[in-house]
Symmetry: C2
Subunit: 354 residues, 2 copies
């Protein structure tokens, strides 16, 4: 059955694989739903979005995404409440950031009618894939790639925007120990670190592999010029609790403006947790670890929401963090989860019903 | 007719489009030959390379190249001499650099038997696409992309290596005026600037667009921390002639180790042109332009070989370069071309017969 709703063409996938999926044993980002949204940009305009079966597509070997890396994405989640309604968390923030990334990568911005309305239409079709219950969510991956052909280093004239959906369980990555970057860097001043651009992620794989070999799961990146300022963890922003104050770096051209990061700050402020958004120095962290005032480090991002860190290494010295009764990380994570799952009042108006 | 030569499977394209191509009016990088080489990496090993018709391929929407930017490439050229023989220029340098890029991007290295032997086998099939005559060449684009699926920021376990070929005329980009970067940057210390990674190129598109709007064709990038050191031009390394000395920046983690760059240095040294490989300061360039000792600026890269620059802008001041009788750029370009086209003795043993 094909139909057109709100200018979105829908070609229903008549066979669903939902019954083949073991929702209790999902590995993150590997299972996809029955449909995807696809919308091409040609001749200076976005064409009609199409929702159709999730499947591979054909592309030219000279497509610019393969050679020059014009590719951006977002990460979002949909949650189900006890009334079987599906909710998004601050989707406008992701749409806004996607368009900021697009500008920085010389790609076309995408209108709300495609990004937001397209996503809602897709989620309505796939709502059975959003499971009720704490920890369950449907991970949403909107992305855009340059599909124009030609091996000359110039922006493409053709792009493809897609939304794919992947059911997820609560993200637990085990005990996370981090290493403070001293040589490698994630982003340059005046570079693309604040854009959610594909190239920012592959750049971290090799340094992360070296960190893994030393027994650390992730890297906390520092500024590339001096390696003295703590910046972000690559797929998460990072928070430090010194005494009873939560510290995090200001966003910049080098640091992604995370939606979870800003939500953590808002919840902390509302609930009278002292916060400081300012450059946090490596030496300050080491001193606090040594004098016992460093209580917590945690990452904040869409996939894990809040990811507590158990210790960090700097210049071959390892600092174990204390195990706390009153962890800010767990307290804020619960409050954030309760908003996302509609278990607590959403005083911020962050949630949007699909 | 299918055959296997040197472990390369060849599936001949029975229809050639060569007679439809206007070889006198080629735009760079838009026309491709009848065949391509394709070789996949799975389960920790490279599979058998296949030479087959140039055509689009299918790929999953969650392929890691689209989301995390694991993609590297090389640029090379094949030339034809008057005996109808086809020659490569320093192909081992490209193979070496490709593998260095692969390591930095956490991708598998590729053996000579696929990169070099595969390329030679492909060129033997496509030798009619390499046209005799100064300025004519066949541009070679080896590249590797992550084809493994899954929207989790980790290196792929599956990759695709391909070689595609594009006939080219002498690359003339018109008069090139450049602007010295003062805010945007190409690469971070400890970043991926020295790798020929896709993400490095799209990062430059937006700043280049802004430069274009001001009437400049390209940007000379400076170090991201201080913007005081002249680095490279993004698709070319850059040389400065002050007095009768050729200056260029040393390669680093931020600067691509260009094959044309090192060939220019070798020719200059052989022919008693003074060279200095050292950090070149913006203030030094401006001072030399003001006191009249700045004679030339030129870019060096595979596509254009040598690209003379007619003037540069720094902080809204434009400096026009003199028109010279004895241009180092043109002299070295001719010598390099003569080696590449086998019109002069190749004292360096740079050329390799296919």
């Amino acid at each position: 059955m094909n139909s057109i709703t709100n200018d979105i063409k829908i070609i229903k996938n008549e066979t669903s694989k939902i019954n083949e999926v073991d929702f209790e044993n999902l590995t993150f980002g590997n299972t996809f739903t029955d449909h995807m949204l696809i919308c091409d940009y040609r001749n200076g305009a976005w064409e009609q979005p199409v929702i159709k079966a999730y499947e591979p597509f054909t592309i030219d070997p000279s497509a610019k995404v393969f050679h020059y890396g014009q590719a951006i994405f977002e990460g979002m989640k949909a949650y189900k409440d006890e009334n079987d309604d599906v909710w998004l968390f601050r989707p406008d923030e992701n749409h806004l950031r996607f368009n900021k990334s697009a500008v920085r990568m010389a790609m076309p911005e995408i209108p709300e009618s495609i990004f937001i309305d397209g996503l809602k239409t897709l989620l309505n079709i796939e709502k059975d894939w959003v499971k009720f219950g704490n920890g369950n969510s449907l991970y949403i991956r909107p992305f855009m790639i340059a599909i124009g052909s030609g091996v000359i280093a110039q922006p493409s004239s053709q792009y493809r925007f897609m939304i794919i959906l992947s059911p997820a369980k609560s993200y637990y990555s085990g005990e996370v120990k981090v290493i403070i970057a001293e040589h490698f860097s994630r982003a340059a001043n005046g570079g693309i670190g604040a854009a959610k651009a594909a190239g920012n992620y592959s750049a971290q794989f090799y340094p992360t592999k070296l960190a893994n070999e030393q027994g650390f799961q992730q890297i906390i990146w520092t500024d590339d010029a001096t390696h003295t300022k703590l910046e972000e963890a690559g797929t998460m922003n990072v928070f430090f609790r010194i005494g009873d104050t939560l510290l995090t770096a200001p966003t910049s051209e080098r640091i992604l403006d995370g939606v979870t990061r800003k939500s953590v700050l808002d919840i902390a402020k509302r609930d009278n947790i002292a916060t400081e958004v300012r450059p946090v120095l490596v030496e300050e962290l080491v001193a606090a670890a040594k004098n016992g005032t460093l209580k917590e480090i945690f990452g904040a991002g869409t996939a894990a929401v809040i990811n507590p860190i158990v210790g960090f290494s700097f210049r071959d010295e390892y600092f174990e963090l204390p195990k706390l009764e009153n962890s800010f990380a767990l307290e804020i994570k619960e409050k954030l989860n309760n908003i996302q799952y509609k278990l607590a009042e959403d005083t911020f108006n962050w949630t949007v019903k699909v």
